[in-house]
């Protein structure tokens, strides 16, 4: 009997040891090569194997990808360990914050052969001008916040009072409409909700609140919240909420990938994508290079960014993610689904059909977090 237990223990021990050794061998094999590395912190979708693997081969390097789920997590992680990452995906509203925190270095655009292909609007926009004459952020894609409506469950008659005259945009009032109580959902994130609520109450500078604006935004967000079925936390939860018919009206920022997912599930016909008549906010995502990056990694960082603003990289982004791109060279790759649902990505950003507020640095992000926490905590 005791032999038996002893045997079992030896077996367990041997299995554990084998696993440990395998792990160590794997680690050792990895460390041995000593290739130059590029470490990327980004959203899923910005470092896909489709182009990362060829990139590794072409430059004989190793690319480490770490995903962060939210813009806040990007910042927290970079701030906690700036030397861990070489390039970080970052939106237009956060460039100044990274700069102020001393996390990023200027990007040498002369090393980017494709930089001139980036649309003038994106190159010249003041969002990234944190230091005169220098670029700290190279855009790769942009997108807006808008509203997805389950038009198989909400009849045209119900929706009519909220539609614009051309029928292409809907008023933000749907979020507070009593007839849609318990049927709406929106994004659980302080930056986005405070800015769109500001647009809803008619504030002209959604990233820069005046003294009285805070209370108005808070009151409006409470109205939104009391009418809402749930908050969403990202693409996956948006899809879950809308495909599961838990909410019929969704305010979110993942229009194109959401529609691609709905199409895959075979239910996209039930949904229509609307812009908001009052206007909307727009983020411009791109790359920043962290301050400690140098040597081989710095070269790789420029090469990676250059690839992603090139025709091929932009085409891959357009095809895979479906958001707006910054270099028209990639335009032909848009899927029919993306262009059908989010037709404005097929045209120039300057022709955007409703007022568009590009997200720039906010006056006090901490205060907005506090405001949003307060709204969430109020029953």
């Amino acid at each position: 009997m005791i032999n038996f237990t002893r045997k079992s223990i030896s077996v367990t021990f041997v299995v554990f040891t084998i696993i440990l050794i395998c792990g160590l061998v794997f680690l050792a094999a990895k460390g041995e090569r000593g290739k130059p590395t590029l470490s990327i912190l980004c959203f899923q979708g910005y470092a896909e194997p489709a182009w990362v693997e060829p990139f590794e081969e072409e430059y004989n390097c190793e690319v480490n990808v770490t995903y962060a789920g939210t813009v806040e997590e990007h910042f927290t992680k970079t701030k906690a360990a700036p030397d861990e990452y070489n390039i970080v995906s970052n939106d237009s509203g956060r460039v100044l914050m990274y700069y102020d925190a001393g996390l990023i270095q200027a990007i040498d655009t002369s090393k980017l052969s494709n930089y001139s292909k980036v649309g003038e609007y994106f190159r010249e926009h003041p969002y990234a001008q944190v230091e005169t004459g220098k670029k700290f952020h190279v855009p790769i894609t942009w997108g807006d916040q808008d509203i997805t409506i389950n038009t198989s469950k909400i009849s045209p008659g119900q929706l009519a009072p909220y539609l614009s005259s051309d029928g292409k945009s809907v008023s933000l009032d749907v979020l507070t409409a009593p007839e849609f109580k318990g049927k709406t959902a929106f994004f659980d994130e302080s930056t986005n909700v405070t800015q769109i609520a500001a647009i809803h109450v008619g504030i002209k500078t959604p990233t820069n609140f005046g003294p009285g604006d805070w209370d108005r935004v808070e009151a409006r967000l409470l109205e939104w919240k009391r009418n809402a079925r749930t908050f969403t936390t990202g693409l996956d939860s948006e899809f879950g909420v809308i495909a599961g018919e838990d909410a019929l009206i969704l305010l979110g920022g993942n229009n194109a990938p959401l529609n691609i997912k709905l199409e895959e599930a075979g239910i996209r016909d039930n949904f229509t994508q609307y812009l908001m008549t009052e206007g909307t906010i727009c983020w411009i995502d791109g790359w920043v290079i962290t301050k400690p990056t140098s040597g081989g990694s710095l070269d790789l960082a420029h090469k990676y960014i250059d690839y992603m603003i090139g025709d091929q990289g932009q085409a891959q982004l357009a095809e895979l993610v479906g958001f707006g791109i910054v270099n028209v060279g990639g335009k032909s790759a848009y899927s029919k689904v993306a262009l059908d649902a989010c037709w404005w990505y097929g045209q120039d950003i300057t022709d955007f059909p409703v007022p568009l507020y590009v997200m720039v640095a906010e006056e006090d992000p901490g205060k907005r977090v506090e405001l949003w926490n307060k709204v969430k905590a109020t029953p």
């Binding site: 009997m1 005791i2 038996f4 237990t5 079992s8 223990i9 367990t12 554990f16 696993i19 440990l20 395998c22 792990g23 794997f26 680690l27 470490s39 912190l41 959203f43 899923q44 979708g45 194997p49 480490n64 990808v65 770490t66 995903y67 962060a68 789920g69 939210t70 997590e73 992680k77 906690a80 360990a81 030397d83 861990e84 990452y85 936390t233 990202g234 693409l235 996956d236 939860s237 899809f239 495909a243 599961g244 990938p257 997912k261 895959e264 599930a265 075979g266 239910i267």
Partner: protein, 272 residues
Amino acid sequence: MSSHIKASKLEKQGTVLKLYGLFVFIFLYLPLFVVIIFSFSPTKTIVGMSGVTIKWYKELFQDKEILKVLLHSIEVGVSAVTIALIFGTAGAFFITKVRFPGKGVFRALVMLPFVLPGIIMGLTLLIFIKNLNIPLSMLTILMGHVSFTTPLVMFQVSSRLQRMGPSFQDAAQDLGATPVKTLWYVTLPMIRTAMIGAALLAFTVSFDEIVISYFLTGTWTTLPVYLYGMLRFGLSPKVFAVSGLILLFSLSLILLMTRYIGRSAEEVRVKR
């Protein structure tokens, strides 16, 4: 079982209880069934599922990232458990065999990392590590995991030691065994099963730990933290396939274990 009536009554109560147990089991396994179904769905979701596919399992084996982080999780788990076994067992001897003032407080302090909410442990360790300017790496994650696996091992082993009492060791030493020999031939075999039980549970907890690891991870990620990063964009069905495989693996392992080891262990316990 003194009378026929009582026996049947007991059985009846047993039936109600067994039904309730079955209900709890269904509750425990329902989400796992859903996960398995997801992993075979061709459309990435359960909505509009038509047909069955194994393509996610195929793709899983081509996805170097997921396999890499899965291996990372196993590495961290095994290393953390190994270190915890050393620290925890030594600690168990200390706390049961050595008299010192303030033992109660000491005991409570040791237990903290396991019972404090993960967010506090992750946070305090991160603040500490940042103050010392230690770069985030596998080592920092390992530190986090050692912090909560050690108390697990220690209390498991110390309660076994307490139950044993000192008489066996004293007897061995009276018979002329050196302390080292006593440890090797007498004490260790007696606490072996306690160590294995603790190691298993510690590995389980480490394998699924997310909050502490999240705070302490740099580019070197474990599976749960990797999944957490994916969550906003959507968990790929490959993730459900990983879960399916892990489930299959652990189920068969456990079936084997209970078949070949469990029963004998049970008998040993009865004999004692």
